[in-house]
Symmetry: C3
Amino acid sequence: MEFVKKDILDMESLSVEEIQAILDTAETLKEISTRSIKKVPTLRGKSIVHFFYEASTRTKTSFEIAAKRLSADTVSISASTSSIVKGETLADTAKNLEAMNPDVIVIRHHAAGAPHMLARLVKASVINAGDGMHAHPTQALLDMMTVREKRGRLEGLRVAIIGDIAHSRVARSNIVGFIKMGAKVVLAGPPTMIPMGIEALGAHVRHHIQEAIHDADVIMVLRIQKERQQAFVFPSEREYAQCYGLTVERLAEAKEDVLIMHPGPINRGVEIASEVADGPCSVILEQVANGVAIRMALFYLLLGGRR
Amino acid sequence: MEFVKKDILDMESLSVEEIQAILDTAETLKEISTRSIKKVPTLRGKSIVHFFYEASTRTKTSFEIAAKRLSADTVSISASTSSIVKGETLADTAKNLEAMNPDVIVIRHHAAGAPHMLARLVKASVINAGDGMHAHPTQALLDMMTVREKRGRLEGLRVAIIGDIAHSRVARSNIVGFIKMGAKVVLAGPPTMIPMGIEALGAHVRHHIQEAIHDADVIMVLRIQKERQQAFVFPSEREYAQCYGLTVERLAEAKEDVLIMHPGPINRGVEIASEVADGPCSVILEQVANGVAIRMALFYLLLGGRR
Amino acid sequence: MEFVKKDILDMESLSVEEIQAILDTAETLKEISTRSIKKVPTLRGKSIVHFFYEASTRTKTSFEIAAKRLSADTVSISASTSSIVKGETLADTAKNLEAMNPDVIVIRHHAAGAPHMLARLVKASVINAGDGMHAHPTQALLDMMTVREKRGRLEGLRVAIIGDIAHSRVARSNIVGFIKMGAKVVLAGPPTMIPMGIEALGAHVRHHIQEAIHDADVIMVLRIQKERQQAFVFPSEREYAQCYGLTVERLAEAKEDVLIMHPGPINRGVEIASEVADGPCSVILEQVANGVAIRMALFYLLLGGRR
């Protein structure tokens, strides 16, 4: 199969075959990161720009490491040190970057849709590294890779996503991706954090965490963003932990071999107990390792690699 | 011709032959950025330090991409994360950098003359990426490259520069550069923005924008720095746009094939109308593309390349 | 000798043989930085993460240049742009980084012991680039390299360290390192800046600077951290300079060929007079040059190089 997409913007625009091609490629490339010499010359002479309008450690580092392991050249732009502070529009910034002939632009932006606009404006491939509360497709892809690696398939699995669904681009991309691949997605969280009409995506809503997790093959715990607490979306961290935190007691009601996932960074003792995050069911760090592989696969496929 | 300059500090210190050599080299190297593998091994093992005391997207990115396309190694230092905050003098910082054996130091600094001082202190080549209101020679060179590319020559052309001449290092470097290459430079802007005695550089001053542009081959529009508005250098953005903004109406009075240039970032609707910035006469994005080529040429020539 | 250490955390944990191996390797590698092509392929395909929680110019630049001269790939994370601001623990950040398979993590952290904790958590090698007021082993190693280069040996030399011993990780690492290699270390500074019980490390305390320097082979002047002045650790910069500053007059009482060292950045006219810092006895800039060589040596030895 030839991979003909120009951009990776969201899970909606990827076909089942494309998702499979990405996961297969990532599986193959993953081994490079375990070699003594963690580098192949595949993308030598390609220019990748990392354009992060929001702070990030793991995602940005993951993209940069992925690019370097394929021998691409990288340049990083962060909003705080850029002429964005001078009031230039994103469209103008994009056209200016384009004029320097990058091959890929990776963008994280607080505004939903910014990567889509960028993709329409530039000839370079655009990868969405997270836009507002909209999408985070590389996170969904690495999550799907992790589940497929552990279970051998995605089809027919039950995936529970717990927490602030309404404000989570991770949740949205995972809901769309897992359902597209034939999994069943069940959501649970405080009523203020479940968006109206989310069932239209094909997900099932449960208001008690027990109902969501008791027969789940995968439990994906979302990060509680403490800054939202002040907006009275939930009363207190303590109360949140009591009602929706994934504790050892709650985990006891789930399947014995359930996979525990979290996109990080973790709030220990809030949405997830330390014993669970560090326990035998947790694949949280494998998600991180697979993140490098997924990003390598995307760079490879977008820049003309064949499977 | 052998290129024997150690530093690129301003347009005053470059000879006509040196400017020609830089433009010719840039024209040759420009093609590398359009290849599939955008990289040549020419400067492998050379160390280039980018030392930016002021925020910058396009200039810094342009220098970094230029360095990487020639296979040089780059290290970036920004003032906000450096020991400059600990009060070290620029001279001490320079000598310390020097001790690490860089081949080129690219510096942007808010103080006019900082790159010149640095150049006297270190054996490495120094490139001025903009110092205070003094000089921005790589911008002038990329502007001259763009005009030469479009018109085949610089000699005898009429270049109008519109805006805040007094506070613009871009204007100053372009005035000196274009006049040196045989062009005629005409300036227009609010009286508070035209420095006294600027005619001494050989430029001609007009106080009405129409007089400056009606027979121009090139119109270079400068950025209005909004932060200066508070200093009452000009009354309001709106009034500025009415008197000095390059609108479609004003452009209609210029030559049909005039080249419209702007160093970016653009304030749309203030110093330039969107229709003009994006119109058929605009070469603004070609300026950006040529910026990479000019910086590649400078690295190449300073580090011993021969023409 | 085979170098089998996993991490470089402090001078206490390095043996005499290991220190010698590091200094010998650094001496050999130093020459690479003076070549026209300053790069060897030794560490191609190795990933080095620079994780700086505190601002730094010279140390970070030195590490990055060292890595690139050995062809390693580098990724930089600074606290200000990372998810640390989201409240993740250092342990979680470390495990996440680990999952991306870096070969070395270089860390600077305001908390003493942070690199040790990191080293216990990750399989990657950890290099302490300065932790709180605890240790700065690469600075001590480059200082020892500089002295050995100039004097041919460390054993039997008298090293005077002047200034704020109590708050200096540089002092602590140098005291331990030089004494381990057979030198005699004499300390002098304001009584509020000499920690109680420091003699237990084997150093000798003098309260008058003259007693410390009159027969010293090396005078190491520490930086006065101006922010500490407000804490009334010393009354004023001027008074400090009068009592403990290394002036031309004081230097006249020292041996004629004494070596003057300073870890930088220098406060000219406070702890050291400009004439002394720039004078013939000063080896301050050679310290900086040796810093690159020491860091190259550490990367090389930790990643499996043989001597």
